[in-house]
Amino acid sequence: MLQISCPYCGVRDEEEFRFGGESHVTRPALDVDDRVWADYLFNRINPKGIAYERWLHSYGCGRWFNVARDTVTHEILAVYLMGAAKPQLSEVTPAREAQPKRVRTSEGSLS
């Protein structure tokens, strides 16, 4: 069971959250062709390595946020707010602290 650090509530069990798939997927305009639309609907990166994902703290604050997670080791490398830019992370990471790196943006406060 993963321990996920909600940017608003702190570390909680995976059971309190809902996984929301790949993040930073842009919704196309109405006039794109079928191929682009199908890509938006159905195709996802599915990396062996760092995945940038959306998570919802459904049993907590009810906010969506983003997580950078290593799909091989399940280590959570970064947690950042919904709408914030993808953080710069290297693939090969040295020994990390227990708490994931928290990225602050202008929206809201992190407590």
């Binding site: 069971m1 321990q3 929301g20 919704r27 196309p28 109405l30 080791t73 919904m82 020994a95």
Partner: protein, 987 residues
């Protein structure tokens, strides 16, 4: 009955000899003491054969004193609750327990299953893949299944109580042996919040059964002091008789707590879910046996276990013992037995010499040692009689010339201690084989875990303390970097081991590797001949290590045999993966009491108690307990449903629709937002008006329908179907938070704040006008599809004039805590108007008579709004909405798609059934199916709705409907069967 030389010694042990405990074993009344395990008590009573082996039904005795026990798995009944496959070595002796051997008939001492041993040549590894083929497997299946397995399931209810607990700590120490206690002490002194979990009922680990000195004191004295300090420390929690069985991601672990398994008020099993900042594993090591011919006889036991029975339980395993070993540690058994007055016939050592202090001990006691020798065979049927010892030739591998038979009734075996690395491996840790230590070692792990003591091959007491202390200190300090390597600073002693585990073959006699699964070296040889040489293949082909002991005393020896046969070093072979659970955990414990009524929370509606008191038949609908119908007198459900339908059509019905989702949307962008969510036009809706809307997903599929009301230009009320209330509230949040956060609005779900009572029927208006209040219900002032709010019968009320039934209908929302009183009032006032309470089944028939869509029944994961006939509405909608782009795809617009229609049987008495298929005969295929069907009391016949290919163009066509072998003819019609113009609901 078999008798062995095992007996209780007069003095010694840590039992309460004053208190006796009575129990039965296979019907015989026996006696033990408080403090005994079932195993020690059986040994004390001289019981030799306790079980029959899995495949060959060979007589077996007690082999170990711990979790690794492969033989003594017995059926134990306490207080009427019988549990199979209980390890006798872990079960405390309980007054009145009834113990039975299984997998034997008629008895464990005389078992007809011994025939399998006679024909063992026909039953090698994987035999079932090569036999039982003619005429086919199923001829034999029944018999084989009945013979397979080691125990029978108990019948009747499980009266055990299961509870789940969560535990959070800074430092979790698993194992309270010397190393674990040292770690816990140090972490506690450093101020950390510590949890110390020990699988035994006592703290102290192996030191409880060894005559050792710890930091200049007796082990007991050291342990007592440590435990006393820890028990007094306020931030230390100690759990005994609790076994950590699983290690997961992010330092989450699970443990099974059996400390109240024999609670006088009823058996309890407790499941702990632990979140630890740091973990220290002090899980010890498991001694491994030697492999030689007939090494499975009753009377053969692990050397350390023999000491445990003597030192802790005051039980001697026999009267004349032989010790067979390849290391120094087993000599302690010889010394302990000798010092307790039990005859030690010889120590058989595969090496040429032992450590100096061992040699001195031998000299002092005058014990005979046979060097460069191994036990190669044993004799005795139900109990050990003698062992054969051969010298090893100069090459150290083959046999020499001088065989001797040594009479004895107990044989202690040891091929060294193997660290218990299971949890470390489950955590993602890597392990490797070390040839100088001749055991598997933890190597490195990414999680925040340290491993100490015997579990890290730090076998000496001083090493264990040093290592444990260091780990405890490091773990308690915050923000230390993740320790990757398991660390070797404290490992130095090797116990002088020589890695000879298997005696050279003296004859064709079988040599056991896995006692529980009856796997022998010949099975491994067979596997190698058939090229199953990868360790994962070997395991699965021979089933070595796949039994309920998970190979705790067989995995390493199997690797050693494989290594010999293939000529590859053990370190190159790898190990199989360790997975939770380390020991079996009952499903009940994992569920933690969430069973039966507590499995899934059923939700109750606000007027629930009224329904219960008035004959409601409650069923589960979308997580809510709702009345399917209300029974009067002796009527059947069918009769009740028909009566209720007619009550609404002819008079007045009252229905609770409280689970309907209600979401308020407030802000200047409320309309704009909903306009993007709904397929329908939202921005044109005027205040006080209500509109029906469909929501689609991005793939254009209908996910919900409902009505939305405009309360004011910046305030909307969204209604969803009852089953989707939470899902749609989440849907709206997701779009607002993730895609359109700049839209100026707030969302507020209010589903459970309001109870919804729906009045439907021609008399609805009459009743409402009789209630005091400030809402004008006249037809002109309150048309269909409108919203009003105000005071009604002294309560705050929100009223929407919408109709699910096709009758004049008002959905009245009042605060949830007023529902019961309001319902009562409506029922009383409506009595002379013929009011009746209506259940969900009748409600669904009513809507079916009108051909009204029910999302989820009449739609599935492929249904888009065009299939439902909403094409024109989509055309008229301006602007993008969720799913719009998908509707522009060619495939979404094909008329050959399954389209929503009505169906009527041609024959008067015939019945449509939901799920039946509309079929074409050539080619024979399905063209669609019946999605809803019911008997309509209003029309006096069966009606249905369905999704049918090209349905919209096939009105009036006669089609064939197929249902479980029968066919009937039906006419395709427009969905509205009753009052198609909607005169009643619009009136």
């Amino acid at each position: 009955m078999s008798r062995s030389g095992a007996h209780r010694v007069e003095k010694g042990g840590q039992l309460d000899r004053a208190r006796k405990v009575s129990f039965t074993f296979n019907g015989r009344a026996l006696v033990g003491h408080v403090g005994d395990t079932l195993a020690s008590a059986l040994l004390a009573n001289g019981i030799s054969v306790v079980s029959r082996s899995f495949k060959y039904h060979r007589p077996r005795g007690i082999f170990s004193a711990g979790v690794e026990e492969p033989n003594a798995l017995l059926r134990v009944e306490i207080d009427g609750l019988a549990v199979p496959l209980v390890r006798a070595t872990l079960q405390p002796l309980v007054e009145g327990m009834v113990v039975t051997s299984e997998n034997c008939f008629p008895s464990v001492d005389f078992d007809l299953g011994r025939i399998f041993d006679r024909v063992h040549g026909l039953l090698p590894a994987g035999f079932y893949n090569k036999t039982f083929k003619w005429p086919n497997w199923h001829t034999y299946e029944d018999a084989v299944r009945r013979m397979a397995g080691l125990g029978t399931l108990p019948t009747g209810d499980d009266k055990t109580s299961f509870f789940r607990h969560h535990l959070r700590c800074d430092v979790l120490v698993v194992g309270a042996g010397i190393a674990g206690l040292a770690a816990a002490l140090e972490a506690s002194r450093a101020g950390a919040q510590v949890a110390l979990i020990e699988q035994d009922g006592e703290l102290g680990g192996r030191a409880l059964h060894e005559r050792v000195q710890v930091e200049g004191r007796t082990a007991k004295s050291w342990i007592d002091a440590a435990v006393s300090e820890l028990a007094r420390a306020p931030r230390v929690r100690i759990l005994k008789r609790t076994l950590v069985a699983g290690y997961y991601d992010h330092n989450v672990l699970t443990a099974l707590d059996l400390s109240d398994k024999e609670h006088p008020d009823g058996s309890v099993q407790r499941f702990w879910i632990i979140r630890a900042r740091e973990v220290v594993l002090a899980t010890g090591a498991i001694e491994q046996p030697l492999v030689f011919a007939h090494n499975d006889r009753p009377g053969i036991m692990l050397a350390g276990a023999m000491r445990t029975y003597l030192n802790r339980y005051g039980v001697a395993a026999g009267r004349r013992a032989v010790i067979a070993t390849n290391n120094d540690d087993a000599y302690r058994t010889a010394f302990d037995l000798h010092d307790a007055g039990i005859e030690v016939a010889a120590v058989v050592d595969a090496r040429t010499n032992a450590a100096r202090n061992i040699e001195e001990g031998i000299q002092q006691r005058g014990i005979k040692v046979l060097r460069s020798s191994m036990v190669v065979d044993t004799r005795g049927s139900t109990t050990l009689k003698a062992v054969a010892v051969d010298e090893l030739a100069n090459d150290g591998r083959s046999l020499g010339a001088n065989r001797v038979w040594i009479p004895c009734d107990a044989l202690a075996v040891s091929s060294g201690w193997n660290p218990t690395v299971h949890l470390y491996s489950q955590a993602g840790g890597k392990v490797r084989y070390d040839s100088s230590l001749a055991c598997i070692l933890p190597d490195n792990c990414r999680q925040r875990v340290r491993i100490v003591g015997a579990a890290n091959a730090e076998f000496a007491v001083s090493s264990a303390i040093a290592s444990g202390t260091h780990a405890g200190r490091e773990a308690a300090a915050e923000s230390r970097p993740v320790p990757r390597d398991a660390g070797r600073e404290h490992r130095s002693e090797t116990n002088g081991i020589r890695a000879v585990r298997r005696a050279p073959q003296a004859s064709a006699a079988r040599q056991w590797v896995d006692l529980l699964h009856d796997v022998t070296t010949s099975d491994i040889e067979l596997a190698v001949r058939e090229n199953f040489v990868a360790v994962e293949h070997l395991k699965r082909y021979t089933t070595n290590g796949m039994a309920v002991d998970q190979g705790k005393t067989s995995n390493l020896n199997a690797l050693a045999v494989l290594s010999d046969l293939t000529g590859r070093g053990i370190e190159t072979l790898g190990t199989t993966t360790y997975r939770p659970q380390f020991m079996p955990v009952t499903f009940g414990a994992i569920a933690g009491g969430a069973t039966g009524d507590l499995y899934v929370p059923p939700r109750h509606m606000p007027a629930h108690r009224w329904h219960v008191r008035h004959g409601a038949q409650l069923d589960d609908y979308g997580g809510w307990k709702r009345p399917a119908c209300y029974l009067r007198g002796a009527e059947t459900r069918e009769a009740a449903i028909n009566r209720e339908v007619q009550a609404v059509r002819t008079a007045l019905g009252l229905f609770e629709g409280s689970p309907l989702g209600k979401i308020e949307v407030r802000g200047p962008d409320a309309a704009r937002f909903l306009h993007r969510i709904y397929m329908n036009n939202v921005t044109s809706l005027q205040p006080g008006k209500v509109r029906y809307g469909l929501m689609l997903n991005e793939n254009g599929i209908v996910i919900d329908d409902g009505v939305f009301a405009c309360l004011s230009p910046e305030h909307y009320l969204v209604s969803t179907t009852g089953a989707n209330a939470e899902r749609i509230a989440g849907w709206l949040e997701e779009w607002h938070q993730c895609e359109w956060p700049d839209l100026d609005l707030v969302l507020m779900p209010v589903t459970t704040q309001w109870a919804v009572l729906t009045l439907a029927g021609a008399a609805a208006r009459t009743l409402l006008q009789q209630l005091p209040g400030d809402i004008d219900f006249s037809a002109a002032a309150f048309p269909h599809m409108n919203y009003r709010e105000g005071q009604l019968a002294g309560r705050r009320a929100r009223v929407q004039r919408v109709s699910f039934t096709g009758e004049l209908s008002y959905e009245i929302s009042v605060p949830a805590n007023e529902a019961e009183a309001f319902w009562d009032e409506l029922m009383q006032r409506g009595a002379q108007l013929g009011i009746a309470p209506i259940g969900l089944e009748a409600w669904l028939v009513l809507r079916l008579e009108k051909g009204f869509l029910h999302v989820g029944s009449d739609t599935d994961g492929t249904t888009n709004p065009l299939d439902l006939g909403f094409g024109a509405m989509v055309q008229k909608k301006a602007g993008d909405f969720v799913g719009r782009r998908s509707l522009l795809r060619t495939a979404d617009q094909e008329t050959s798609r399954r389209q929503f229609v009505g169906l009527e049987p041609v024959e008067a008495g015939a019945s449509l059934v939901a799920g039946a298929h509309v079929i074409s005969t050539s080619p024979k295929r399905s063209q669609g199916f019946v999605t809803s069907a019911a008997f309509s009391p209003t029309l006096g016949r069966s009606i249905g709705l369905g999704l049918l290919e090209r349905g919209h163009a096939r009105i009036d066509e006669i089609v064939t409907v197929f249902d479980e072998g029968r066919t009937l003819q039906a006419r395709v019609v427009k969905p509205a069967f009753f009052d198609p113009a909607g005169e009643r609901m619009n009136g």
